[in-house]
Symmetry: C2
Subunit: 390 residues, 2 copies
């Protein structure tokens, strides 16, 4: 082991760690996250002082360690962990990378700055001293380590001061404060307020909300139709979209709007496996980010999207049918087996009907009825009748 | 010919054309566009009355009909047209589709509504009466017809009330009015104002602008860095991004900010062929949408992006180099031959140096120096020294 230790090359100080920074005031959340990082580092240091082998117990992020919590109705991680050891040739590098990412997060928090996961990769990438061995070969090597650190430190990525791409906009009867700026989402024109990637309470506070519910639509083009028709004004709601699969910021915001303001969340999605999947992620969380379901998922969300019955019920013409592909059929079968769908008669029937129909329908299919059919008839009727899937 | 005429199936009225609408007040722009559609239809009707063959002369949208206007410094379409005839078996369908798209645009304008190009496809898709022949098989058949109508009617897509996906945000020292709502872009928090797809003067009016210039960055993650560091406040500017290749709304907005408010536009892009291409599109227009360069392109835009010299000049470490692929080399050679690059010594040298270096650099590479190096040193220095490529 002494030999192994000698061979461990020193990690060169990265310039990103050497810049002088003015001390910033830390939020309570930042203090907590720093505490987690400090605890991890202290445990490691203690191991070294005891002359034990330094190791990290990383909670396992695979399907085998994820289960559906029936009571909380969200996907949750189990307690399995995997050991990551410094003095193990196959693990030494990922051990180094894990501590490096934690150190990067510490640095960001202390500076009061945030960066993208790509930015962190660049911040941390350098050749290990006296070698030509880079700390990370590419971003693909860094991203899973960031997820490891999230579970290890029990901190959302956003709490580590890391952001994802942002896509998704909001308008409606709510006023919020974003980084000190008051934003009245009922005065945002045709463009809307761009939902940031980090929407934690330290950044976004809700100031006043008159809205009765949130309508979350899948695509920004559909969102534009609803905004143009001032749907949110007529129905006193908030209108959001996530450009397809909603990014973390949008999911977290829906979670906060529901939990803190008590707003029901209705999701207008396509009648296809992808629409079902988006619903599943918004409602129950995603399998590979199950450790953050508590703050990302909204189990009370309702599906107000297109249904297999709508082709007939809405009198649509053949032209709007899109045949199911083999991939669609395979995905639909997988999704039908998710426990939170499999246990619900309505959902089983819904997915069965789509399979029997042999076609899927996009929300835009309603445009073939008339341009504002979706905003003036379809959604209002379902809302009025309480006719949605849970 | 009489036979051909008899065989022409009637087009069933589409439900989207039958909805009753309240008359809306038309803007001067809408009146003009409707006039163009009306003229096209009148010319066709006159042909029929003269018992001539109905045909449309569609301006040719291929490379052979595009040239660089040295004086205006934008890509422009030539005067070649292609005939599209009703009584020609291979053209009858596209003739029908062209008039259908024009009729759809007329309908949208008269209703005072807008839709996406996918939405228009759904609005217009139906089986031709007493046949099983759909008006459009898929959206891929509809999109080029929309472009044909743009050139035929000399109207931007936005003027036909069609919008594209929107992606791109703005913050900075400008107040604008969007659909009647006043939006102060200096009070938009971390999220920003989401730039809509249609930014024509009928939707967006500039109310007050104190900014001295516009910094347009390639990626939203870089935009977040600049916004968090309040770059736009320190340097009195407007900050935009377009999530990669900027969509039409963003390009049109840059054009308007430059032409109407006299603001210089600086583009912070990657040091790679894709970055060069984005610059080219912002500055000179794009080849297949050359007919709209006048309103989409900003020939005075400057390139303040990463340069091939920056690896040494900024003291970056090897880790940030990304090797050029064969595709990169091929694209770089093509771009170097664009007349607006080929005629400029600085640009030739820039592209040559990248090829010799054998690697490209992303803006994020500057993060390896320090997290705010790009906002506090890199860009300010170039601005101060006037050191950019034209």
């Amino acid at each position: 082991m002494a030999k192994a230790r000698k061979k461990t090359a020193k990690i060169a100080p990265n310039p990103a760690f050497m810049e002088s920074t003015e001390p910033v005031e830390l939020s309570a959340q930042d203090e907590r996250t720093l505490g987690q990082i400090f605890n991890m580092a202290s445990r490691l240091a203690a191991t070294v002082e005891r002359d034990d082998e330094p190791l990290l117990a990383i909670p396992t992020r695979s399907l085998g360690n994820v289960s559906f919590n029936e009571k909380k109705r969200i996907l949750q991680m189990g307690s399995k962990t995997t050991s990551r050891e410094l003095f193990n040739l196959s693990q030494a590098k990922s051990f180094m990378q894990t501590t490096l990412v934690a150190a990067g997060a510490k640095r960001l928090i202390e500076m009061g700055k945030t960066t993208s996961i790509r930015g962190l990769y660049y911040m941390l990438k350098h050749d290990v001293r006296s070698t030509k061995e880079p700390t990370f070969h590419d971003q693909g090597e860094c991203d899973p380590i960031i997820e490891d650190c999230e579970v290890l430190l029990e901190s959302l990525r956003e709490e580590l001061h890391l952001f994802a791409d942002k896509r998704g906009d909001m308008v409606g009867n709510i006023t919020l404060v974003d980084s000190g700026d008051e934003i009245d989402c009922s005065r945002m024109g045709s463009g809307g307020y761009a939902i940031p990637s980090i929407v934690e309470p330290s950044v976004i506070q809700f100031k006043e909300c008159k809205a009765d519910f949130v309508l979350h639509v899948e695509k920004n083009t559909v969102w534009q139709r609803f905004n143009e028709d001032k749907f949110w004004k007529k129905h006193n709601c908030i209108l959001t979209h996530g450009s397809g699969q909603p990014p973390r910021g949008v999911r977290r915001l829906l979670n906060r709007l529901h939990n803190e303001l008590g707003l029901p969340i209705f999701c207008l999605l396509d009648n296809d496996p992808w629409g079902y999947y988006i619903y599943s992620v918004v409602k129950q969380g995603s399998i590979n980010l199950a450790y953050e379901s508590d703050r990302m998922a909204t189990p009370d969300a309702k599906f107000i999207g297109l249904r297999s019955r709508d082709f007939e019920r809405c009198g649509l013409s053949d032209g709007v049918k899109i045949s199911l592909s083999d991939v669609d059929r395979k995905r639909a079968k997988q999704i039908a087996e998710y426990p939170w769908f499999a246990n619900k008669k309505d959902w089983r029937r819904e997915i069965d009907t789509m399979m029997k129909n042999g076609f899927k329908l996009e929300v835009e299919a309603l445009l073939s009825r008339s341009i504002s059919y979706m905003t003036e008839e379809y959604v209002p009727r379902l809302l009025k009748e309480g006719d949605f899937l849970d």
